[in-house]
């Protein structure tokens, strides 16, 4: 029997977490924490916002303070990449503090809070973004060209991945599951037959953001793109990956006629990339669009579904994302039939 006056384990945990954040604030910024709240979104990452000494911060950590998943970078490495990007003049949140094991909140870092919108549907529909929306594709091309010119030799050691490796990895995920997916097989065949040249032979591998899409860019009604977020999949690889991923139809949020994130055309995106020193291989970018669509399809059909079925996350949200694989099938067919 539980007594109403006893605290639930969740509440005690939340208080312990708050007191650890408070300790970080006092030791690093010399003031107590206030207004601590969890930001919505981010199934793979937790974000907490708070105020300390009159300034707003965001703490990013792995869910429940666990260690990095096989895909995600160690938080300290992610923070070092953010610092390198900032030094190169790229709009990113400034890292204020990298948490130590003695902080007892898991792998995490603290960054300065930036005002802006990340919810893709709002950016695409709300009237306050009407003025900046037409220039977003241009801004995306610009920021990616800058990013891909960062000197990789000055970075901490990062994982390498390329087209052949990514295709092989997702093919493996698909075939672990016994559920047959003829459209995915068709896409895999097309992608295997149309692999871009090995990036290490044809041009130098670069720093790739790895999750550059509508939803991970922060947009303000005044300045358009104000920050590039969610760096946990950053790696060394093919720059065309970052040009393909934002054009995956699922990231257009109902604006299919505008292939770049639902806000722009590829021409404007590519032109800005070239104007800022980047070199576009259009057939390679196209390859990454199709591979990206397949990856999202396999994430839904296999990874989300098996997490749901195994009970690791049996929530209705997780289960329903599994059924989004059908959207990628129709998109892949349209792409393979050259109708997108």
């Amino acid at each position: 029997m539980t007594h109403p006056t006893e605290k639930s384990p969740e509440k005690t945990q939340a208080e312990a977490f708050a007191s650890r954040i408070d300790a970080i604030c006092r030791s690093q910024f010399g003031a107590p924490v206030s207004n601590l709240k969890r930001l919505s979104g981010g199934a793979s990452q937790e974000s907490w916002q708070y105020i300390c000494d009159g300034r707003a911060y965001v703490l990013r950590r792995n869910p429940h303070g666990q260690n990095a998943s096989t895909n995600a970078l160690p938080k300290a490495t992610e923070a070092a990449v953010l610092e390198a990007a900032a030094a190169a003049g790229i709009a990113v949140p400034r890292v204020s503090y990298i948490c130590a094991p003695s902080d007892e909140i898991g792998e995490a870092y603290v960054m300065e809070f930036i005002e802006g919108e990340t919810i893709a549907r709002k950016i695409l529909r709300d009237a306050e973004f009407d003025a900046v929306r037409p220039n977003l594709a241009h801004q995306c091309g610009e920021v990616l060209a800058q990013l891909h010119q960062i000197d990789v030799s000055a970075l901490p050691e990062l994982p390498y991945s390329d087209a052949a490796g990514e295709l092989e990895k997702y093919k493996g995920f698909l075939h672990q599951h016994k559920q047959p997916h003829p459209v995915f097989e068709l896409a895999i065949k097309w992608l295997s037959d149309n692999l871009p040249p090995d990036i290490r032979a044809s041009r130098a591998p670069v720093l790739v953001h790895g999750d550059f899409r509508n939803g991970n860019i922060m947009v303000s009604p005044e300045d358009g793109l104000v920050a590039l977020l969610d760096w946990e999949l950053t790696h060394i690889g093919d720059p065309m990956e970052d040009l393909g991923w934002p054009c995956v139809p699922s990231w257009r949020f109902g604006q299919h006629h505008l292939p770049v994130g639902g806000f722009g055309q590829r021409e404007a995106f590519y032109a800005a990339y070239r104007a800022n020193g980047g070199e576009v291989d259009e057939s390679s970018a196209r390859f990454w669009e199709i591979l990206g669509t397949l990856k999202w399809g396999i994430m839904c059909a296999v990874l989300m579904s098996s997490t749901f079925e195994s009970g690791a996350d049996a929530s209705v949200e997780r289960g329903s994302i599994g059924r989004r694989s059908s959207e990628t099938e129709i998109d892949l067919l349209r792409m393979l039939l050259e109708q997108d």
């Binding site: 059924r323 989004r324 959207e327 067919l333």
Partner: protein, 135 residues
Amino acid sequence: MQDRPLANDLLAAVRRFLTDTAMPQLQGHAAFSARVAGNVLDILAREMALAPGFQKAETRRLRELLDIAPDTHVDLLELNQQLCAKIASGEMNLTSPGLRDHLIKVSMGKLAIDQPRYQGYKTAQANNWPEEESK
């Protein structure tokens, strides 16, 4: 034969309860989850209505594509596995007679159940892509 009420009427009653009674009393993440749960009930209702016919059509076309003898029993899972093997080996592709049409119809059927409001589905309809058949 199961007794009345019919399953889809019961499902519709749960949907009404969720929309009219539960959702107005929920806030924050619970309200969001309830909206997702409502969408899932809608998927189930469409699946109950459409999937039996869709599966018959899919099975019929697959038997034809794979040239299965009329008296041989092969279930839908196995038919799809055979098709996957032929696509992976390159033996069949989008120019193979009937394959393009088959794959479009199956995917259109999945969308008609999972998310008929998805824009890619509407685009396909606008391009006169065929819907899945119901028998």
